[in-house]
């Protein structure tokens, strides 16, 4: 029998305050990020902010500097460039949403073909989002997060007890805000596909939490005399290897996606990787301690 962790006796509950401080800090950053996003002060993707993005694939390696200069001379305002590694691809994003849709992308391509005539290019993709659509997508994303959180809370409350549901929901919310915080600090783009990753993380990080909760519930029934925090410690230690292994297999596929999945899924898989790590941590260090604090020792005694 090959085992990653064998007969561990780690005092997870004893470390709950260290975990709370750590998680508290990152959650506060995450909440700050949400506040900034709501006020349009984060690196919002054009699907949320509205604007134009054009991805160009050049025949020869193109210098970002040259493209920037060409666009500036061509009178394009408020844009940024991103070089996509490998295939001579450059992504131009412009956030001028007041101008009529369709004009900006046309301007960008015509300026570059005029100013850089030696390096031919093809337009890989064009995305233009008007302010109305951007607003709707933002609202939908917000609703998706709220609705899924409530639905999960209800499900866990039905299957377990309310204090478990609160623990699970706090842990899930923690995972989502933590990933958001890290993306915000890294200056990564906040877009629709990131929200998709966040919701997937929310759903999946519960797998680990449910595994831990199940064992706690089971052990609480048989070990009526032991203190609750000791039972929790025991339970977490017992299921530690499966919590790690289940996340690890998804981590493997996320890493594969990160390296081979292409540029569009790069940030998505990065969010998944970070989310999986944080989700595993939170199901051990956040979810159970909250159940303990919320329910108190007596909550379990009668069951």
């Amino acid at each position: 029998m090959l085992e990653l962790v064998k007969n561990t006796k780690i005092d997870f509950m004893g470390k709950k305050y260290i975990a709370f401080v750590l998680s508290g800090i990152i959650s506060i950053i995450g909440l700050f990020a949400i506040y900034q996003i709501a006020h349009g002060r984060a690196n919002l993707g054009i699907d949320f902010a509205g604007g134009t993005s054009v991805q160009l694939k050049f025949e020869k390696p193109a210098k970002v500097h040259d493209v920037r200069k060409a666009l500036e001379e061509g009178g394009i305002k408020d844009f940024d460039l991103q070089e996509l590694t490998g295939e001579n691809k450059i992504l131009v994003r412009a956030k001028n949403i007041e101008i009529q849709l369709g004009k900006v992308s046309e301007q960008i391509t015509s300026v570059i073909s005029q100013k850089l005539p030696d390096n031919k290019f093809v337009v890989d993709s064009t995305t233009e989002i008007g302010p109305k659509v951007g607003g709707k997508l933002r609202a939908d994303a917000g609703w998706a997060i709220v609705v899924s959180t409530i639905a999960i809370l209800i499900y866990i409350a039905v299957r377990f007890k309310l204090n478990f549901a609160v623990g699970a929901t706090v842990a899930t919310f923690h995972d989502v805000t933590a990933v958001l915080a890290i993306f915000f600090l890294l200056g990564k783009e906040i877009n629709l596909i990131l929200v998709t990753a966040l919701l997937t993380i929310a759903g999946y990080s519960l797998t680990d939490t449910v595994v831990v909760f199940d064992r706690i519930r089971e052990n609480l029934r048989t070990r009526l005399k032991d203190p609750v925090d000791a039972v929790m410690n025991l339970s977490i230690n017992e299921v530690l290897s499966r919590t790690i292994v289940t996340s690890f297999t998804v981590l493997l596929t996320s890493i594969a996606l990160f390296f081979f999945g292409g540029e569009v899924l790069h940030d998505f898989s990065l969010a998944m990787i970070i989310g999986l790590l944080i989700g595993t941590y939170s199901s051990i260090f956040v979810a159970s301690p909250i159940v303990l604090l919320w329910g108190g020792n007596k909550a379990f005694a009668k069951k």
Binding site: V133, R159, T246, L265
Partner: protein
């Protein structure tokens, strides 16, 4: 073999066979299948989304308020005509969405009531006011959206796109999806053009006409308009004609003063086709009017000989030739400086008719065909790498039981593709990510079971009872953990747009199928092993 195990394997076998049959159309083997198979068996398979196939996804808003406004304009125009016919002296003025007529008389009110009883009418002092009621207004708006949809469909049919999707969304939005279009800009222009064709008389009599500059630099249109805003006669307006120098390609514009009222519009057209000028081999569009249009065209040209007639499309003058004589027969030509392609598109929009209201583009997502196929290749690569990594890890960690888990994993992937193909689900780029994540999640159920079995073995149980109680005890944990992922998949499906919906579909299907493969597939293999002989040791 135990009977119940046999039936379970048979069931798995049938499911796999069905999955293969459904997925076959997505493989090159489908082409070599016999004719009767291609005709009668599933032949559509998984559909590629626009982000993978390449193409355009456009969302337009029909500016329906403009349709209401132009309806009011049309009413004002016909009222004016009616008054002229009845020789009634009154001024007709459009004020916002109201039509005001002064002075009133009994005869006038009677005529209005007879001809326009669908309009709300009120009289105060010397002014009669007509306006559209709410019902009429919402009817016009709804009608505008429907008509726009029809017009766009006609244009795209004539443009020639395979399998376009065009539908209304909400009150006044139109979604257009065009897979595999090579020239996206041309397609967008073709759809978005209002294509309101008008014939207007050039007002060369006004002294202002002579004051207008002969040509202007591009971008100065607004400046000219505001400069002359006060001077232009009330019945006239300034429009611009665009000219392209054939040698240099330089574009110049020059202003023309025309009378506001259109003598004739494109609604009376029956035909528009591209013709090549035999002398200069430049293309032009020749149009034919229906009998009513032909009659009007003859009247208009007859009444305005030696004047110039401006041919105006969407407020841009194409040309303004001098009318030499009365033109009968109902044929005319639209010349101007444009190339063959533009001439062709012009004939398409004229034939398909004008949009009832201008369109505003809300969203445009265009993906080139090479990006799509790159994405598919990258997805295949990542999927393969992920599968191999997970499979090797499972064997390394759980030995023979890992092999069984891998069997379930492969089963899971086959059934997932089969299920998607049976639903003709759309595969998007995020959907690929969903499949790859599902590969990682697929072994989770097995991990949970195996760990449970290990617990039981440690507790000293025999392999057979360890398997049975391991399954039993792990069941609800697996069930609960799958449901939470299903909940988020459902939410994403509800709130997500196209590609995200694709992700939700693969994630949701994958997780559901995973429950089946883990709880039935893996268990059957274990039961098979245990039924053969008395197993002393479990490789786990």
């Amino acid at each position: 073999m135990n009977k119940s195990i046999f039936w379970r394997f048979l069931f798995i076998g049938i499911a796999v066979a069905a999955a293969v049959i459904f997925f076959l159309p997505n493989t090159p083997f489908f082409k070599s299948m016999p004719d009767w198979w291609q005709k009668n068996m599933p032949n559509k398979g998984i559909v590629l989304g626009l982000d993978l196939k390449g193409g355009l996804h456009l969302v337009f808003e029909v500016e329906a308020d403009k349709a209401v406004e132009s309806t009011v304009e049309r009413y004002a125009f016909t009222i004016k005509e009616m008054l002229q016919k009845k020789k009634l002296q009154a001024e007709v003025k459009k004020n916002g969405l109201n039509i005001e007529i002064t002075p009133t008389s009994q005869e006038l009110m009677k005529a209005l009531k007879e001809g326009y009883n669908n309009l709300d009418m009120s009289e105060s002092g010397q002014t009669a006011t007509l306006r559209l009621n709410d019902k009429e207004r919402s009817f016009i708006k709804d009608n505008a959206a429907n008509q726009a949809l029809e017009t766009i469909r006609n244009r795209i049919d004539q443009f020639g796109v395979a399998e376009p999707t065009i539908h209304r969304q909400g009150q006044n939005e139109i979604v257009v999806q065009l897979p595999g279009v090579k020239d996206p800009r041309r397609a967008i222009d073709l759809i978005g053009k209002t294509a309101l064709l008008e014939f207007k008389i050039v007002n060369d009599d006004s002294p202002i006409a002579a004051q207008l500059p002969s040509s202007i630099t591009l971008g100065d249109e607004e400046k000219i308009l505001s400069q002359f805003a006060d001077k232009v006669p009330a019945d006239s307006q300034i429009l611009f004609e665009k000219k392209v120098n054939k040698e240099t390609g330089a574009v110049t514009k020059f202003p023309i003063l025309v009378r506001k009222d259109a003598m004739l519009t494109g609604t009376l057209l029956t035909e528009a086709k591209v013709t090549l000028d035999s002398q200069f081999s430049t293309p032009y569009v020749s149009i034919s009017f229906n009998p009513e249009g032909a009659k009007r065209f003859e009247e208009v040209t007859g009444a305005n000989v030696k004047k110039r007639l401006a041919i105006v499309l969407d407020n841009t003058v194409y040309s303004a030739p001098v009318i030499q004589e009365k033109i009968g027969g109902g044929n005319a030509q639209i010349t101007g400086s444009y190339g063959m392609e533009e001439a062709k598109d012009l004939s398409i929009v004229l034939k398909a008719g004008a949009l009832p209201a201008p369109l505003k583009m809300l969203q445009n997502v265009t993906v080139g065909p090479s990006l799509g196929s790159d994405s598919i290749e990258a997805g295949k690569m990542a999927g393969l790498a992920g599968t191999i990594a997970v499979a090797i890890f499972m064997i390394f960690y759980y030995r023979l039981s890992g092999v069984i888990a891998d069997f379930a994993l492969i089963l899971n992937i086959i059934l997932l593709f089969g299920a998607m193909a049976s639903m003709n689900a759309t595969l998007s780029l995020p959907g690929i990510a969903g499949i790859i994540l599902v590969i990682g999640m697929a072994v989770d159920s097995n991990v949970l079971m195996f760990e449970r079995m290990r617990d039981e073995l440690r507790a000293g149980k025999t392999p057979r009872s360890a398997v049975d109680s391991g399954y039993k005890k792990a069941f609800w944990t697996i069930f609960d953990s799958h449901i939470t992922t299903l909940i988020t998949a459902a939410v994403l499906f509800q709130f997500g747009t196209g590609p995200i919906k694709g992700f939700a579909v693969t994630l949701g299907l994958g997780v559901t199928i995973n429950l089946y493969t883990a709880l039935i597939g893996t268990k059957s293999v274990f039961d098979l092993i245990n039924s053969r002989r008395d197993v002393k040791k479990l490789s786990i």
